[in-house]
Symmetry: C2
Subunit: 306 residues, 2 copies
DNA sequence: GAGTACGCACAACTCCTGGTTGTGTTCTAA
DNA sequence: TTAGAACACAACCAGGAGTTGTGCGTACTC
């Protein structure tokens, strides 16, 4: 591909060869090989150089795109000036949505999103510089943040109940936490040992709910399918989470009150991280941050107060 | 890259090797080579397979994107079900803008845009199946369209005068063709022998204008630069053509009247071309087609009437 | 807690790919 | 007609990428 683009750029096999520091014959072989693989002729050879065929013209932008993709791939792991690398909690919550919003607002900023196992892993990765920032609930019970890590609360996301149309609560405009006792709430994909699991453990302990985390996580499609079809099951979902759901299969989102459980999202980063895009991300989140009134909400006691 | 993605997919070097029909050792070597080239570790090897490192997680989407780009590149020249391939006239006219509009309306349709030399080349390419359609002014003087080629007029684009702020006509709200006599109009990049050149030849002959096509075409940036800075020069530009011009350097677009020269764009295609996207393109153009009232416009006599 | 099975890495070897040098062919311009 | 420019073909060579064979570490099992 590189050779093909080089020939297009110079218009001559010879000059491309010089650019690539190989012989003209090698260029000829490479192009011939590419043409053979593709099954089409890419250049019209003339006595004054090489012109693109129509197939070559159609192929060219794709070849350039491939080279750009290769560059971005290399850049994504290049120590030094690599893209901003942010860890988001793997859940049906809004963190990845916030990053999508940031990307829309700053499409010029190269961004890589990863999902780490839990906050301990994330903190290690932040301290080692493997990632630049992390969206998490700060912190795990009983363990304060290390002092070289900074954090700022960026979003309190209320949890809503998601039910199918045949669920007993499907018609409710809102439900209280007390009303949820006795109903089966299905939360597959919660990994024990994560701060997300700790959050729901506390929720269960405090209000006597019935959460089932059984079964493997087949992805959100399968979850929504099951919820829609099973009258006895409901699940929790962040109010900001966008569902990818074909039109309307009758799924209901029902606000939870008395109190409203909120999942507190914080951004964590290392105090001395010099990545220029990190400041942009923090500014963006500060501008779009949203919380809830302290009254009537619930969060685990170990959450750092706003 | 393919090997890397295969290992991610299976979670085990062995299984990836089976998928790729090579040995586990070869997979190990490939991954080790990639890691060496990149300078980072991509997998954490365990006794139960291989997990991605953080770098590996960041790298993965880029690797997938690269493979998709490679697939699209191959597809672009694959005989049979390749993307719709459309030729647009290389000029400061609206044809490429129309294709951008089509792409916006139908982003799911794969599209390749090429620029052929002239309408003769385009007709040959249409007949041979090398391209599916062409935006052109039909036809060259004195030569009718072959009968296996269909055409439909999709856009009459009025020409406007483009001047810098210091040009003598810069303040005019509109100019007549007669007023243009004596002014130097600069049209670099017109290739002699094309139907575009024929159009301007006719325009010059009929109204006694002074068109200068001298000098190489350094691209539209250089052209606009020169126009903005040179009081004695102006150029023609299609009314629909979008300028890529930083904010406002004082360039003026001035409608031309008495009569208004219009450049007639037609879509040409081979009657028996079965490409499904071709019908979509024709429908899109029919829906967005725009013309001018016949009164007060000018086009060369050899243009096929609407 | 020892044995075993599994999974990846290393070593040695082979072969083919991809490079080089040398030469041929074709087109163009003087 | 001839000289030069540009790409293709042929022969050759080296290194890379594959194979087989083996070793080592880890985790499951009895």
């Amino acid at each position: 591909m590189r050779t093909f683009v080089a020939v297009v750029g110079t218009g001559r096999f010879q000059d491309a060869a010089a650019d690539l520091s190989i012989t003209q014959q090698a260029v000829s072989k490479r192009v011939a090989g590419l043409e053979k693989d593709l099954g089409v002729r890419l250049f019209i050879r003339t006595a004054r150089g090489a012109r693109l065929t129509i197939d070559g013209q159609a192929f060219l932008p794709h070849a350039r795109e491939l080279l750009r993709a290769a560059e971005r791939a290399v850049a994504s792991v290049l120590p030094g000036s690599r893209p901003l690398r942010v860890d988001v909690i793997a859940s049906r919550l809004a963190a990845s949505g916030l990053m999508r919003g940031f990307h829309r607002a700053h499409p010029e900023i190269e961004l890589d999103v990863v999902m780490l196992f839990d906050i301990e892993t994330a903190l290690d990765a932040i301290r080692s510089g493997a990632i630049d920032a992390s969206f998490r609930a700060v912190a795990v019970p009983g363990r304060p943040l290390p002092e070289d890590i900074e954090s700022v609360r960026v979003l309190d996301e209320a949890l809503q109940l998601l039910t199918g149309p045949a669920h007993a609560l499907a018609g409710a405009r809102s439900v209280t936490v007390a009303q949820l006792a006795g109903h089966r709430i299905w939360m597959p994909g919660i990994v024990p040992g994560t701060e997300w699991a700790a959050y729901y453990d506390d929720l269960v302990a405090e209000f006597g709910l019935t959460l089932e985390a059984t079964g493997p996580n087949f992805g959100s499609d399968a979850l929504l399918d099951t919820i829609a079809d099973t009258p006895a099951l409901a699940t929790f979902m962040g109010e900001r989470t966008r569902l990818v759901w074909p039109a309307d299969h009758g799924l209901r989102r029902i606000p939870v009150t008395d109190p409203t459980p909120v999942y507190p999202h914080s951004l964590l980063w290392r105090r001395d991280n010099p990545h220029p895009a990190l400041a942009t991300l923090r500014a963006h989140l500060a501008a779009t941050a949203a919380g809830h009134d302290a009254a009537g909400i619930w969060a685990p006691g170990w959450v750092i107060p706003r």
